[in-house]
């Protein structure tokens, strides 16, 4: 989902940066507030960041014959709310843009928007909906993490289609082309991300039940179950 350095026209690059900036600022504010209120959650926040670090470094093969990587933002979005993931995703993307020439400074805003804004917000919303519908804990997490991952790549496809509409078919035709590259490749990876997120959350729910109950992620009944 990394749009490469220089591959977004200037106007789009600036537009997406302006769109992402408030999320990053608000996210930093919400993280600071939470750490001040509950300093003991600092380590768990580190786990959410570390999970994004690991998953976004793993380039996995897909059935389409190309490689891509999961995002790892669903875990933190469920634990800390979607806003907290914007600055965390921004750090990961900045690391990759500067040291790895993966993504870029000019495309950072657009990449933050897809991976650290749309993905986490979708994941958190799906998780809340699934809980309201009384789906089991594991299934709710799985749906949140995998669909959040997939929607990140759908967003990237839309961003590129907006910047490079098809000369004949316009936005829609272009979107289909980019989505074939990104979203289709992503399907098995999104499923993998869903499973990995459930595994980590199962472990956290088992060994840190009190923290997770305080964060309203699990209920007492689910911990015992």
């Amino acid at each position: 989902m990394h749009i490469m350095e220089g591959f977004l026209p200037v106007k789009h690059a600036i537009g997406w940066s302006i769109a992402s900036a408030p999320f990053v600022v608000f996210g930093l504010h919400s993280i600071n507030k939470r750490i001040k209120e509950k300093p003991e959650q600092r380590m768990l926040l580190g786990v959410a960041a570390a999970f994004t670090f690991v998953l976004s470094a793993l380039k996995m093969p897909s059935v389409t014959g190309s490689c891509s990587h999961p995002t790892g933002t669903g875990l933190g979005a469920v634990l800390f709310g979607p806003a907290a993931m914007a600055p965390i995703g921004a750090v990961v993307l900045l690391f990759q843009a500067i040291l790895l020439a993966h993504g870029g400074i000019t495309t950072l805003g657009a990449n933050i928007f897809s991976m650290a804004v749309v993905g986490p917000f979708a994941a958190a919303a799906i998780y809340r909906t699934a809980k309201t519908a009384r789906l089991p804990f594991g299934l709710s997490i799985f749906l949140a993490a995998s669909l959040g991952d997939l929607l990140t790549y759908v967003t990237t496809s839309a961003q590129l289609a907006l910047a490079f509409p098809d000369p004949a078919g316009g936005f829609t035709a272009s979107f289909v082309k980019f989505a074939t590259v990104f979203a289709l490749t992503q399907i098995p990876l999104a499923i993998s991300e869903g499973f990995l997120t459930v595994i980590v959350l199962n472990a956290l729910a088992r060994f840190n039940p009190q923290e997770l109950q305080e964060m309203n992620v699990v209920t007492a009944r689910e911990v015992q179950g």
């Binding site: 380590m43 670090f53 059935v63 014959g65 840190n208």
Partner: protein, 111 residues
């Protein structure tokens, strides 16, 4: 049951990664004898799509720093994954020990 479930999910991830490796076959080299590359990055392929949609487009900014070789690139990616995995492992290790000590403590208190 839960542990069983976790194991199954880990297996599923391995299968999901392994299946494409033997399912996708390398196509024969093109007429000019150039090898067809498989399992390229999707980001790279998007660049090709841009080239067909807007042949005149030239990137207007170059990466500030590029890993001098693929080896160095994979070193940095491995480092990124290792840092993350190390931290998660540390935290889970601490949590497991803490919950065991708490259990033992409760048991002693009951005696």
């Amino acid at each position: 049951m839960k542990r069983h479930q976790n194991l199954l999910m880990m297996l599923a991830v391995i299968v999901l990664v392994a299946v494409p490796l033997w399912m996708v076959k390398k196509p024969a080299p093109g007429p000019d004898g150039t090898e067809v590359e498989i399992f390229r990055g999707a980001d790279d392929q998007a660049k090709d799509v841009i080239a067909t949609l807007a042949p005149g487009y030239r990137p207007w900014f170059k990466p500030l720093m590029e890993p001098p070789s693929g080896e160095i690139g994979s070193l940095l990616f491995a480092l990124q994954a290792a840092l993350g995995a190390g931290f998660i492992g540390y935290y889970l290790g601490v949590s497991v020990t803490r919950s065991r000590l708490r259990r033992e403590h409760n048991k002693e208190a009951q005696c």
